[in-house]
Symmetry: D3
Subunit: 323 residues, 6 copies
């Protein structure tokens, strides 16, 4: 199967791809004609796709997400590749296609990510902190198997949230080794809890965010996760205003660092400072990696990266990576 | 008793005043000598005070807050009035002085303020909302009898918080009458809850804030009040993620309107918008009234008002208030 | 007549509507074809409308604003309702349609609003202030009968400006009762004058702003209203630098509160502070009410509201308004 | 007479100087003793001065501004020169000292500055513009003879305002020659009017600003000058909303360029753009020149310059000025 | 030849114009059809142009920039003029058209601009500064003959960069005469060097910027010019950390004044302050002049000017320029 | 020797301490008396110190930095500990005191830090990058043995700069292992070069910054380090505009990320993004560690930390660090 990332203008393509989004449209012609705007995707990237002459039946048939078999041609439209469909049909059982083969996903198996997270929870020495974190993770184990970490900013792929957590845990352990004055229990708890309520703030399927939930819009994942900690504390019989619970609340609420980024308080314990900057380091580098790894092989500059002030990133061909 | 607001340079004063703060100091002389920096206050205002030649015993005797009898002279130091003590002693039982006669306090009796607040709670039609608000008010009834609404910004006086709530409730009822599409239950609940956790965010005595509490620093009164709602909901058997609870959370969390002012989410229901602007109107006007009513009679411009961009306010003598 | 707010996809509609805007367009087809982009409106809302196959004559016939009779179908285009015209003709005399039946307008009759404003002017106790306000209102009585308060932000409907003033007057009286230290004459004068020059800053017809005037662009309604006060003072023989005139200037010029919002000075008298926050409260709540009352019955979230940080507002179906 | 700028630590100085400010103080000693904080000045700069052992009579005698004869010693206090008085007396008639010999003033005679300004007014070709500018200048001819342009920012010296205007007029003529599409009448009028109301916004004596006036605080010099233009237009029988008057208003109101710098509107005619940037160029360079010319000869860096982001300016000794 | 600036709706035009850009497009029709979006230009302005029915051969023929002969009609599309091509062919040798007749260019001959710049270099008294500036100018003499000063902001025309430099030099000489404390050598050097690396930051042809270069994106013209000075100093045997070299670096690096405008340091020598404000004055006025001189004769307001806060500029018909 | 951090009010102390700063002062008494404001320090912290009755000879004797033997008493002044000297003398040879025993310094020996840095330079695979980095390090090897990384923000101690580099190198290696698409040569080069010019931007002695240098003020360490790279490239015969040199420049210039933080360009290669966030993580955590480790044992909250939005950091006694 030709990877989308390697599509070149003029290629005639036949193959299976993920129909990631599908929208029925009408031309401005008189009378207007029906067509569909599709996005086809595979692990390597995605491509805007025009399906002219779509019938009413087509509109009912092609509902994202699904696997489709397509035949078509790669064109260039406004300097960007576009795919023009000549034939399209849904994948059938006898095609033996598996959706997870077509989506970008964390480079580590979700089951392994979840295992790491759960092991880390058990390694928390403080019994009360451990119990609270355990309770919060238990609420959303299934969603941690597939949720992305964001709509488009960074880690916007299958199991991206769990992957983000695990990478941050690695960094957290390393930093705590560099700086023994940090409390590793808090570092671990903070990292696992900081974005965990994204699983309720957003609705997502196969690693793609659909929209913000009602609660997500009105409260945001910081306050939502703080609520989960309160609920866990109460059900465990811990005082909501005990130092440990307050500190867990504080780490969650302060991890965006500034009011204009959504944190009602700023980091005021060492581990909250660590949490914010570990989060930044991992999120920004992943955004870079996402942009670099999905750009066409022929390019030297990525598309603008939104969480990096909309800057484009340059990837040297000559310099490459050192050995 | 001469009111502090009417002190004029050169006056010799004898009378009872509230010792609002007392700090032991040393001069830079060689060898340094002991003295005390005091703040004397009454209902009309306060004045910086120098107590030269304070003995070790004086330092142990004069601990704020207490009532003292003083004799001394009004001087001007760096354009501001300053009081120089010649004699000072603590008020004794036979002086029959009552501390509440000396402090600025809400122009309505605390018991009446609390009564209004509690009546308003009972008037909330929705049983679940009423129960949650009731539970939160019950936690802090005693503190509502005397807490100020802030350290210095506005309503920084005895029972200032309850007074702020009651005034906002009046405004809220009026606005809801102007705009019947607003849900009065939510308006009432939002007004009563919005600053209620200031009673735990701050420590205060006789209407004067001492400092921020541990929880106050790490969480802030918005997130603290949200926690109280969660606790109340759980103990009442209500789902934390039910629409009503989420909306109460939302109103509390959004009432500072913008991230840079401490709100992690922005108002997104009509009543939350109303709550924020009613709060602004009442707080800013009270700050003006506080500044105008405590300025010396001889002045036309108040001291800079911090929550009004540090602007001074002009009070016309000639124009006065219309009849 | 079916209200636009209740249009449902697939409905075939016949009826009279206000043609609020009409633009001649060409398709991108080869050769391009003519069509018209119309906006149809009634009191309940408005809808984007496509008029394919518009002839040259049609382009000359359909000029907004006018009443038209249309037949057509409700469609959904990019998640939003769109109306597709099949037949259209101008309303004729024998149709007995009245334009004011089709436009959103203040819920109070313009004549009553103007009466209230004029009565309030007469109730100003100070003769000089009253005369100045009287002179300014007299300049634009006719426009106060129909001008909106803004292009789109808030009160963007027939007599919206007068309605905004009257509502603010109600609030102002209430606040002045709460806080007797405020000068009610100034409150009244400030409210009536603050936006009065919008009648010259903008050009408007049937409650719809067309554009900013030359003077409006170069000076803005704050400085324009200040000029009116100067003109009135001079013609009344009052000194332009007398305290009263300066204070009226100050209230007008400072009512946007901050430089970045267009005020060259910040509020520095109590009544100017009150004016700004009363204006905010009324404008923001009206923006909410406008958004909520014109959203389709099937929605729970309004369109983004520009003066509320572009936030959408949520209107609970279940919770409704309390009784 | 030794210039203050050349004072060196340890110097014993006898001479006449301007007493620029005088403040009675008390030491913190017990009992506190009286002394005076003086500022002595001459054309070359100024110096903080301590007058220990000042008697009650001294306090009544030494009121700024006046010329005094002093004997004392130059000391260094916190890295800055300070003068310690041993003897001081007011200058007497027989001393034949003239205050204007001691103050910093524009390097051009005030009478010549005013002559240039008035000649420029007469050179304005458009009769109506000329008349308005003439009327505004006539109001304040006497003040233009001595007012500074600001409290401390730039041109804070005797006749600094007129000097600023004249320098800007030179620049304006030059720029209008470079760019003939500019209307020279408007350039001239805008430059003369832009800061003219500073003469009423501030109260000043011998080139030193005392304070902001009542009207200055409540309106600011932009709106005040706009009022003057309105008054002039009315008394000349010109329509306040005629294009010319509106444009003069616009140039004055927009000359601070941005809302956060006090302009309610932004420059929108070519000459208003020119006015703002000519003003900037002249004001910033004068601030630099003020700082450089009053710094002690031994320094390489000036004190921080407030209107240059509080940066210090470096003055090379070696590089000097080219020939 | 009819100037584009004077095109009126409905005109049928035949003539030679510069094809400034050419983009192949497809309609949304089914099947989509090919057409081209062209921009035609002459000295007076430019116009959006539709070339329907463009063949594959047309797409290969019409590559910007080139001179074409066109026949077509002026239309109005979305309130803006648009040109619809009926016939088009490339200019041939026998048409005797010269591209420089069609492009906007500096009103002074490039050779004269360059001569002025080079003469100014030679007039720098300090031998070391002169040599460094000489070396930097020598690198790019050819590009100074035609480079614009920016992509679209200001001086975006043939030889615009050299014209900007020469105009600033005129201003610089004038200001240095007004303020003799300024070092004219530094003024001259700073003006010539400040934007000189734009010749490498941007790639440009016939006065039109194509794109930012690799080095331009990664370093920017300030740091690039600083590098040139370093290179020149080294090759001339001057110490990179000598006062003169540091000061030249400083002037270049600080000329955008603030960090958010791209300067890593703020102006801290008098000549750097002068350089920034001279640059501002010239750039902003040129932006105004560009907007005014290319707007259609029928308009009173220009298009929004990006570097003037996107404000439109008003050009009075009646007032005109004074004589 | 009693550690300063453990001083308790009322303690009488005899011991050797570092005299970190010494300033001669005069009291306000009449006549004023001489005294000295000293700062005494050891590894654990520092304390404000009053030396009353200092003689002229004392002022000449006690010049910071030096080791002194003191006898005195710990007092509390304005809530902060203050030391009052009774006896003081310089340490003599026979006291066998070593200044490095008294200063805060990196927890790793400078020689080891330098060794690590130099080894890392040699491990850079790319010959040209290695040579450039080598050349830059060679310029300042001696200063790397003792320079702090900043005046007060973070790593403000002996060899703090080298320690910051080494810690960042550890993080860089770890991150490059997590994300193999990063070029480790560039990570290493960027980390070593990013702050290296601080050794010339600041003047420092025994780990304490005295002031900014002339070049430091006019250029800043980013542009200075870029110059060093240019110099190195030229002396190595490498083209200044080659991709490698441009990228090294880019990493140095962009490492403050935003214009308002001093970077003229923003990170646009993956390794520049990594560099910025690794720098942030290390600097912010070190600032926390500095604050926590030097606060008195009796406190729970540190002093405000400037680079953490001036927030105080809370250090739990009970929670401690986990095991």
């Amino acid at each position: 199967m030709t990877l989308i990332k390697t599509f070149v203008e003029g290629d005639e393509i036949i193959g299976f791809y993920l129909l990631k989004s599908a929208e029925a449209k009408q031309t401005n012609a008189t009378p207007p004609k029906d067509y569909m705007d599709l996005v086809l995707a595979d692990k390597s990237g995605e491509i805007q796709t025009k399906f002219w002459d779509a019938s009413s039946r087509d509109k009912e048939t092609f509902i994202a997400p699904m696997i489709v078999k397509v035949k078509g041609i790669v064109q260039i439209y406004r300097d960007k590749p576009q795919f023009k469909i000549m034939q399209i049909r849904p994948a059938a059982d006898y095609d033996h296609q598996d959706m997870t083969d077509f989506i970008r996903s964390a480079p580590v198996q979700p089951v392994d990510l979840l295992y790491t997270i759960k092991q880390t929870v058990e390694s928390i020495a403080d019994k009360e902190i451990r119990s609270i974190v355990h309770a919060c993770v238990s609420r959303v184990e299934d969603k941690l198997m597939h949720y992305p970490a964001a709509k488009s900013m960074h880690h916007a792929f299958y199991a991206g949230l769990a992957y983000h957590i695990v990478r941050m845990l690695e960094l957290g352990e390393f930093v705590a080794k560099q700086r023994p004055f940090l409390n590793l229990d808090l570092i671990r708890a903070g990292i696992i809890l900081h974005d965990i309520a994204k699983t309720d703030e957003l609705t997502a399927e196969i690693g793609i965010v659909k929209e913000y939930s009602f609660t997500g819009k009105l409260l945001g994942h910081l306050s939502m996760a703080a609520n989960w900690v309160t609920e866990a504390a109460i059900s465990l019989g811990l005082a909501v205003d005990s130092e440990k619970v307050v500190i867990l609340h504080h780490m969650i609420l302060s991890h965006h660092n500034l009011g204009e980024w959504g944190s009602p308080v700023q980091p005021q314990i060492p581990e909250a400072v660590a949490l914010h900057y570990i989060d930044q380091l991992d999120a920004k580098l992943q955004a870079v990696e996402d942009a670099v790894s999905t750009m066409p092989d022929t390019e030297e500059w990525t598309a603008p990266v939104r969480i990096l002030e909309n800057k484009q990133i340059y990837r040297s061909k000559g310099l490459g990576k050192s050995t």
